[in-house]
Amino acid sequence: MSLIENRPLTVPAPNPALAAGLDEPLSVLHPDGSRHANELLDPHLGDVDEHALTDLYVDLSILRRIDAEAFALTRQGELLLWPPAQGQEAAQIGSGRALRDTDFVFGSYREHGLAYLRGVDQGEAMRVWKGVQQSGWDPMEHHLATPQIIIGAQSLHATGYAMGARMDGSDDVAVAYFGDGATSEGDVNEAMVFASAFQAPVIFVCQNNQYAISEPVAVQSGFPLALRPTGFGIPALRVDGNDVLAVLAATRIAVERARSGGGPTFIEAMTYRMGPHTSTDDPKRYRSEDEVASWREKDPIVRLERHLEQTGAPIARIREEAKIRCDAVAKELRAAVTAVSVPDHRTLFSNVYTTPTKRLERQLAEHDAFVASIEAAPGGHGDHA
């Protein structure tokens, strides 16, 4: 008997009544840039004028450029690793732009767009990917947790934060970002149990980029991921994740619900990881060039550019403006990354506890003595680099 062939058929279907966009992901922009009506989303896009569209376009472009620059820096040996966000810009910017600064975001490792939106210093953020720090900004300052690698764990943190906000009587919300693969982890499912049980003001943004490293989403589930939360009593919106306006509107719906005491919402943003899983992955081993090309047609930035053009916006000028901003960000990022110096190795003992323990002070002293003995040894030197 084959486990594989039977899998999708044996899974009971959760409650579709709680999910929107199951047949066709919710959208307002066609890949050709034309706008179409959507009953659910349109009421939440009333303020989106040419100026707002231009801002979104610049955001998407800058995120793509940060991503491309960081990826290039891995190839030049300046960064160890980079998990690219290319193709997922609209999912990140659209959702991020629906939040206010005091809403707390808990991401995975791929949400470079959220770091950009929260004004994180990009050079500082890159230190993680350079292997010199475990985090690249102050989470409390930016209301943004730093990259979290254990798949799905942050969904619980967001839920707990939201429970706390609710206890405080605040209307802050929390947002968890995770991938399609993450929806299989116990943590994500338990987060949904708690979010539902405590009606926590939390939004689960699942970027379904079709892959968990090499595994296509069908390995995780034979039915739309947006049906999973409905089994926990959590409403879901399945949106075209490459349509920045659709993601913006869907997230606004979720945020309004959470702020007004309506509890959690799950958003499945249907998108595609155009690049490799990380800079060390080889996607040719598990997906075809044709498949990638078909998604290139649905590119989120091209789509918005076409839309701007069709609405009569001065697209040449907008493009130029975006380019100038992108170039500046890229230049700054590159300079910051190449300027990172090797940290003092003594700092590896810092921050294990809020106050140093005797045991660690002793180990630091042993480390110092060892380094000193190496420096004193004939032919030895103290160059840790």
């Binding site: 982890e185 598990y286 060892f370």
Partner: protein, 347 residues
């Protein structure tokens, strides 16, 4: 890939593991593999490369992304008579499966008075020195060594990797097989007819001055240290512990009775570690033979640091030689071969 009974091949350690999995799948149709990205991709380290093509997706299963479920369902498969060999993609990702391992896998045989066997193998690429990000370089072996009912083994060479994994799959006890990922690309001869036991340490280099016990990725570092010390006329007896639980204390005690000095090295942090257990056991049993306090060369008691700090954090040839010097009551005898400059390339 076909197994030829008497073939001796030169293989990388990672490939030797792949060969062991291949041969086990071929030998017993109750054996199957399950894990994240192990099928089509062949695993993130390509250890299972080609196995799904050879044995099909029923026996080399790409699982959904859930470690607790990987272990927990393997338990159910074992109840049903299968011999699951599951992969945890990296050391730092084993913790979602920790409960199933320590509360279920480890205890089922005991709980059921021997009526239920758990012939599971849990493969874990482990250890650092690969320049990676958080959670990709850890050495969590002592959590499992602390849990009765689990066997915990490592391997330092392609031959050991092949032979140990075959023995682990053949064992009716659950086995955690910790693969030294920084050594995946190291080459050595592999005789595919050799299957070893899961209980014993092995003396790799005899020596009369100091006993140096280690395992996994640090074995290579220890051998280099022994070579450097030999240049100065110091004989280090290098022991590859191989099995972390049960620990072969007899072999180490016998060595210490000859040398009178003990150094233990591993990549895991020091506190409540394999070296804690080994040193305590040797002190209990061979106190009178010890001519100096046992020394330990381990990671520091901090979380695994960013990779820029790895060379300070992990045991190196120099740190081992330093400990050997202390055990011998010598000062500053470091050889030129063991200089800091070469650590990055030799660890």
């Amino acid at each position: 890939m076909t197994a030829v009974e008497t073939d001796i091949q030169t293989l990388q350690l990672g490939k030797a593991i792949g060969a062991a999995l291949h041969d086990a799948l071929e030998a017993d149709d109750k054996v199957f593999l399950m894990g994240e990205d192990i099928g089509q991709l062949g695993g993130v380290f390509r250890v299972t490369d080609g196995l799904q093509a050879t044995f099909g997706p029923q026996r080399v299963i790409d699982s959904p992304l859930a470690e607790s479920a990987i272990i927990g369902t393997a338990i159910g498969m074992a109840y049903r008579g299968y011999r699951p060999v599951v992969e945890i993609q990296f050391d730092g990702f084993i913790y979602p499966g920790f409960d199933q391992i320590v509360a279920q896998v480890a205890k089922l045989h005991y709980r059921t008075k021997g009526r239920v066997r758990m012939p599971l193998v849990i493969r874990v690429p482990y250890g650092g020195d690969i320049g990676s990000v958080e959670h990709h370089s850890e050495s969590p072996e002592s959590y499992f060594a602390h849990t009765a009912g689990l066997r915990v083994v490592t391997a330092a060479t392609p031959q050991e990797a092949y032979s140990t994994l075959r023995a682990a799959i053949a064992s009716d006890d659950p086995v955690l097989f910790f693969e030294p990922k920084s050594r995946y690309w190291s080459k050595g001869e592999v005789d595919r007819t050799i299957v070893r036991d899961l209980d014993t340490a092995t003396v790799l280099v005899p020596g009369r001055d100091v006993t140096l016990a280690t395992y996994g990725p640090v074995v290579q570092t220890a051998l280099q240290a022994a070579e450097a010390a030999a240049d100065e006329g110091i004989e280090i007896e290098v022991i590859d512990l191989r099995s972390i639980s049960p620990l072969d204390v007899d072999t180490v005690v016998a060595s210490v009775e000859r040398t009178g000095r003990l150094v233990v090295a591993h990549e895991a942090p020091k506190e409540a570690s394999v070296s804690s257990e080994l040193v305590a056991s040797v002190v209990e049993r061979a106190f009178a033979s010890l001519q100096a306090a046992p020394e330990r060369v381990t990671a520091y008691d901090t979380p695994y640091p960013p990779s820029a700090f790895e060379e300070s954090y992990l045991p190196s040839v120099d740190r081992i030689l330093d400990a050997v010097d202390r055990a011998l009551g010598r000062r500053h005898s470091r050889s030129a071969t063991g200089s800091m400059a070469m650590q990055g390339g030799t660890r």
